[in-house]
Amino acid sequence: MYSYILRRLLLMIPTLLGITLVVFTVMAAAPGGISAQSLIEGHMEPQAKQAMEDYYNRLYGLDQPAPMQYLRWLNNISPIGFTFDENNSVNGFSLFKGSDLGMSFRYGRSVLDLIEERVPITLLLNVLSLPIIYLLSIAVGVRAATQRGKSFDTSSSIAMLGLWSIPTMLAGVLLIGFFASDQYWQWFPTAGLSDREALDMPFLPHWGSMWDVLLLMFFMVIGLLSLVALSQYAKRSIRMAMMAGLGGILGFMMASDVNAGTLFMSVLLGVSGSVLLGLLGYTSFTALRTSLMGLLGIFLGILLACTLMQDEFVRGFLLDRLWHLILPVLCLTYGGFAFLAKLMRTAMLENLLADYARTARAKGLAERDVLWRHVFRNSLLPLITVSATLLPSLLAGSVIVEAIFSIDGMGKLAIEAVKGRDRELILSITLISGVLTLFSYLIADLCYAVADPRVSYD
């Protein structure tokens, strides 16, 4: 096992070299490429310009031929290597010179600083999205596989394909346009991760009086209990009718919230609200229905309590952050969810029809045990393999999401770096995303061996 890991780690080195070489070649081969001239902006006197060029050349070695530049960069980032004196000539070989990602051309700051500042933000987005993606997709995928050919399976399959085909930028633009701009519903902030005033707020939310907290709790519990009870104990027809009515009312209220609301809009929203919630009431997928209806109940309770509360309320840093994160996380999750749910369904289907599942049923195991103890565990294997490719795709997805919601994460940094032809920054981002991806491949392979005893790497 250890020799396998060591071999994989060593194999990463040529791959990483290849990645940076490809990116460097693209930059060097491009017309214009990277030169000191391209870094100097605006009008300057010839002498000053010359001085700037010399400065950049000395700092980054831009006047050297491309292969030398690449080797220099490699030498800079490797912890062992040659050291240079002021005139850029080699003056020794050091084992402890330390690695240096260099300075960003555009920002004039060390690349490491910039990346350290941005990575947590992108990680925050992804860490929030991943559990949502996995939980939902496992729930829907397992359900679709066990209900193969029935209405839930067909409708969820089409819905998954549709969701998967919605471009992230369309979803982002529409969400911002309708739910964050002041023309329609200004429910969410348009940009950034927190409001300026939220930085001065305490971390947790504060209420003006104890009475308000009690009120809020009371309505939340009432909302939760009533809708969960409706979901669990009411007959399907009653459940569906009540939910459809609720959806219609909510839709109308939403339409009346818009300044320039038209009759068409209220009808459209009312009908679609009642159809959506009616479907939720109709479905026989109890776990999903109850949890979604419970969430809806809590939400309605909060809404009601907010209209009744009198004293002032400070939302605090945490709530403000969450409020800012809802739309971006929504944009990041839906695509991955659709993809994984389809994958989960296929994997479950294959295993449900396998011989061992039949054997388990034949020896008298309950269907629930067959499903969760045998089939489900084996169906997780493809999910593990895919999780390795999900991380890079989430990183790429956050490029678009961060651009739309102007969140200062790695994705936005990448776009800025590329637009500014910032050589050091581009190479470092490439290197880091390459390392992340390769490590996630390795971890996925190791998880695979843990999950499936038949796989061994010795």
Binding site: L349, A396, V399
Partner: protein
């Protein structure tokens, strides 16, 4: 080279799979939408054009639409004609492809060298002349606005919501600079189709050659090739694309090549796996024993038997190539002047207010196109995988 084309069995297999695929409603719906797109792309100058199709001035007929036809318009029209004619002729596939390529080349050289539309276009002249009654009669295109006609003759142009003004009809509204959204969308369907097919074609070509060699030779060729595949898979494709596009000036053709170059690794992986499996089989061993040339073994014997999973990957690949172009244009790194759906979506963000028609229609077109290719891909996969389809 004989005229028999691909081996009878191979083409039969592919034909059977295609028949099976397009008997499903999902694939049919997808095909329908793509058919609509092809129609729009080919007949774009007839559908949406500020130049009248036909007019009569002082008793003399003229057609400004024909005068202002670009070589591209002619080539695309010819491409459709050639395809239809060749589909009707009962030739072998290979011969059809060769004849099609040859004819296309001839048409392209002829039209590039002989067709030169006037450099200066004044869209307003037709409307002015018509208003002052200089024409006897005019036949306009169904949408009488060119994609780059910013309606400068109308003083208060700018943003109009769909059917928002009484004077002129803009079915899907106008952009902030006054250009008609529907007209731009019709002309942008060309870019979407071309990017999808050509970028995927390039990616598939590279992937087939490299993957085929890797799978056939295995050993150190495989080892080296897989490192190369890993190199291209370890960086998020979007980031690689961004670097390429930012450093090379983005015109349509560069863009296609770039999307192709960054997208080949998946195909190489698939075809390698297929060829590793096929290599052991008797018919390949027999072909090797007969001392057939490598090209023949790889592409006439192994490829037809391993092509099926590639077709699935290709139809998803077309979708992702269209998405890639839209994403790049959306991020402001794509085509500058030509209409493209992604660039139109970007304009919806750049505008100071949110104008839903500028986001919903181009975005919806991207969505429908990606959805269509995905549906076709899913149906193909079901048709190819007997295990799953048997269980249905």
């Amino acid at each position: 080279m004989t005229d028999s084309g691909l081996p009878e069995k191979g083409s039969g297999y592919v034909a059977q799979i295609l028949r099976d695929t397009f008997s499903r409603w999902g694939a049919r719906l997808g095909l329908l939408w793509i058919g609509v797109l092809i129609f729009c792309a080919v007949f774009a100058p007839l559908l949406a054009n500020s130049h009248p199709l036909l007019l009569s001035q002082n008793g003399a007929w003229q057609s400004p639409m024909l005068q202002f036809m670009t070589p591209n318009d002619v080539i695309i029209l010819a491409l459709l004609l050639i395809t239809i004619i060749l589909l009707l002729i009962p030739w072998a596939l290979r011969r059809k492809v060769m004849a099609g390529l040859g004819l296309l080349f001839v048409v392209a050289t002829l039209s590039v060298s002989f067709i030169s539309p006037p450099q200066l276009t004044i869209y307003e002249q037709y409307r002015d002349n018509q208003n002052t009654g200089q024409y006897d009669w005019v036949v306009h295109a169904p949408i009488p606005y060119s994609p780059k006609d910013y309606l400068r003759d109308d003083g208060d142009t700018g943003l109009e919501s769909p059917l928002g003004s009484e004077e002129r009809t803009h079915w899907l509204g106008t952009e902030t600079d006054g250009a008609d959204v529907l007209s731009r969308m019709i002309h942008a369907s060309r870019i979407a189709l071309a990017i999808g097919f050509i970028a995927t074609g390039i990616a598939m070509f590279i992937g087939l050659i490299l993957g085929g060699l890797m799978g056939y030779f295995s050993g150190w060729v495989d080892m080296l090739g897989m490192r190369l595949v890993e190199v291209f898979e370890a960086v998020p494709t979007l980031f690689l694309l961004l670097i390429f596009v930012a450093f090379f000036s983005p015109n349509l053709y560069v863009m296609m090549v770039i999307i192709g170059i960054t997208g080949w690794s998946g195909y190489a992986r698939y075809i390698r796996a297929e060829f590793l499996r096929l290599r052991q089989q008797e018919f390949v061993q027999a072909a090797i024993a007969c001392d057939l040339p490598l090209k023949s073994i790889l592409f006439r014997h192994m490829l037809p038997n391993g092509i099926a999973p590639i077709l699935v990957a290709a139809s998803f690949g077309v979708a992702s190539a269209i998405l890639a172009e839209a994403t790049l244009s959306f991020l402001g790194l794509g085509l500058v002047d030509d209409p493209s759906w992604g660039q139109m979506l970007n304009q919806a963000v750049q505008a100071s207010t949110f104008n839903w028609w500028m986001a919903v229609f181009p975005g919806g077109a991207i969505f429908l196109t990606v959805f269509a290719y995905t549906l076709i891909g899913e149906s193909l996969r079901d048709a190819i995988d007997p295990h799953i389809s048997k269980n249905k």
